[in-house]
């Protein structure tokens, strides 16, 4: 596996989360694991599978623009012992084939790894049909699913290796595009089900996933200048939630904010709120994310700004909330 260092982190960042999985990790893994297969719905080239196709043509199946059938075929291959990666845009992957995912992956536990590309608003001007703002909710409510969202391209790379050692269905939610921000500049251990504390501050905890981890780190810097100490948590595993880390974070902070490039309903914030609701006491919590709305198609940075998900606006929301509840 490629080591995470400043140079490689930059390289992977240029490729984006998707390019890191399909262009770097999977060609290597396929050389080591006979049971690996990759299925795509007419997005081999866009997914950066060119190298994979050249090196492992027998392990790539392009099933055309038919996501339901693709999920069925993946399930059949997995039933026979395959470790099957399936990819297309997150919106089509999780919604067009939802029942196949529920019955085949959830109910029958077939060993299929869903890789949903360009989740959130990464598709910008393509508009709402191409945004995935509900996918975390949909995937995490299916029993037996593991749900992951990498903070940067290097973490996406690590996830590709990690999920191969997990016998069961996984959804990997990819956010951002090419040239995505770097969160990890040096080698670290990624473990499914373990949250990562990127900074430690005594006032407030900011729990983030995907693109919002880098944005949260920037917001934490801004807040530090204003005298607010923020712990930034990279919640790369949304299911199963890391309850131990959450317990420690709740105990050590006066307030908690969740932030995700996903609908405010039912995603990361929803998962944390569900867990929190069963605790005797825990700090007040604010859930930030995309609005519960179909917005006008715009470029992603503009949409994030509108939704208050850029570092300066995040910092403002967090500070305001902290002052209200401290």
């Amino acid at each position: 596996m490629m080591e995470i260092n400043p140079k490689n982190a930059r390289l992977l960042s240029m490729l984006g989360q998707r390019g890191s999985i399909f262009g770097v990790a999977l060609p290597e893994i396929a050389g080591e694991r006979d049971e690996l297969m990759v299925l795509t719905a007419d997005l081999a080239l866009l997914s950066g599978l060119g190298k994979f196709q050249t090196q492992h043509p027998d392990k790539l199946l392009n099933l055309g623009i038919a996501e339901q059938n693709m999920l069925g075929v993946a399930s059949g291959l997995a039933k026979e012992g395959g470790c099957v990666f399936v990819t297309t845009y997150a919106t089509f992957l999780t919604m067009r084939a939802y029942e196949q995912i529920r019955d085949n992956l959830g109910y029958m536990k077939f060993n299929v790894k869903l890789v949903g590309a360009s989740a959130g608003t990464a598709m910008g001007m393509s508009g709402n049909t191409h945004y995935a703002i509900e996918d975390l909710t949909l995937m995490r409510v299916i029993p037996n699913m593991t749900v992951l969202s990498p903070a940067d391209a290097g973490e996406a790379l690590k996830m590709a290796y990690a999920v191969c050692d997990l016998d069961g269905p996984v959804y990997i939610r990819l956010t951002g595009g090419l040239n995505c921000p770097v969160v990890h500049k040096k080698e670290y251990e990624f473990k499914i089900g373990r949250a990562e504390l990127l900074t430690e501050g005594g006032d407030l905890a900011l729990i983030a996933a995907g693109t919002m981890v880098a944005e949260g780190l920037k917001a934490a810097e801004l807040l530090k200048e204003r005298g607010l100490e923020v712990t930034v948590v990279n919640m790369a595993t949304i299911k199963p939630l890391d309850a131990d880390t959450l317990n420690r974070v709740f105990a050590a902070h006066k307030a908690v904010v969740t932030v995700e490039e996903h609908s405010r309903l039912g995603g990361l914030g929803g998962a944390v709120a569900e867990y929190k609701s069963a605790l005797k006491s825990s700090p007040p919590m604010l859930m930030l994310g995309l609005p519960d709305a179909f917005t006008r198609a715009d470029e992603q940075p503009f949409l994030l700004e509108q939704a208050g998900l850029t570092a300066p606006r995040l910092a403002d929301s967090v500070e305001k909330f902290f002052n209200e509840v401290k």
Binding site: L63, N69, G72, G76, E99, D103, N104
Partner: protein, 277 residues
Amino acid sequence: MTAETIQSLRQMAARMRLAALDLALGAGRNGAHLGPAMSCMEIMAALYGRVLRLDKNNPSWNDRDRFLASKAHCVLAHYAALAEVGFISREELATFEKNGTRLAGHPAMNPDLGLEYSGGSLGLAIGVAIGMAVDAKRKGRANRVFVLSGDGELDEGSNWEGFMAAPHLKLDNLVVIVDKNKLQYDGPTEEIMALGDLAAKMRSFNWQTSEIDGHDLDQLVAALDSRPEGRPRAIIAHTVKGKGVSFMENVREWHHSTLTQAQYDQAVKEVKEAAAL
């Protein structure tokens, strides 16, 4: 195939009909899918009594043929067939639709019982079967993958995605049998959502297609034994929903219904008489 073989498969189908009636009576007010089970008794008898290569002592035998009941509401016929060939004991069969059972109203995947797949939602099995057939090809196994679909079920578009993919992938180890009993839940298939000339449709999708009498065991075994090269096989089996019990035949309401003792007695009498049991 000898006349004795055919006669033995006929007897097997009759015993399966009787078992299905027992299970439906035992299910009481839960009711059961009698009509769609009765239409495929001969199909199941041909498959389990003759065609499928299985080993009940090694249910997960890697070279076994795979069978997926896409029309999972054929469950009475499916369980009865698995009981005939020893995958399900007679004692366990009697637990059908009782609390704690492994034999629910739609089959739940259980390799030990010979159940390859958790069915119930229509149109989902074909894709899984294609994946299993691709795997057999990739690994050089000689086993075949069989799917039993209903004609009403073919309203689901996911079937047609699979029907397009299987010939493209040259899956000559895949067989789809359509139990064409011409009735779906709300009425005749041609009134609810016309299938039209299904054989022509399958041929145009490049399936090697034949139409047979789905209650004729000679025709069934011959069709199931035939192996085309380079493309999948579709067998359109013309059947009668509720076949074998006069008051159920072609009657919509028997898709899923409860059975009274008097109806049970009448049905058993008819099945026994027809098979000279």
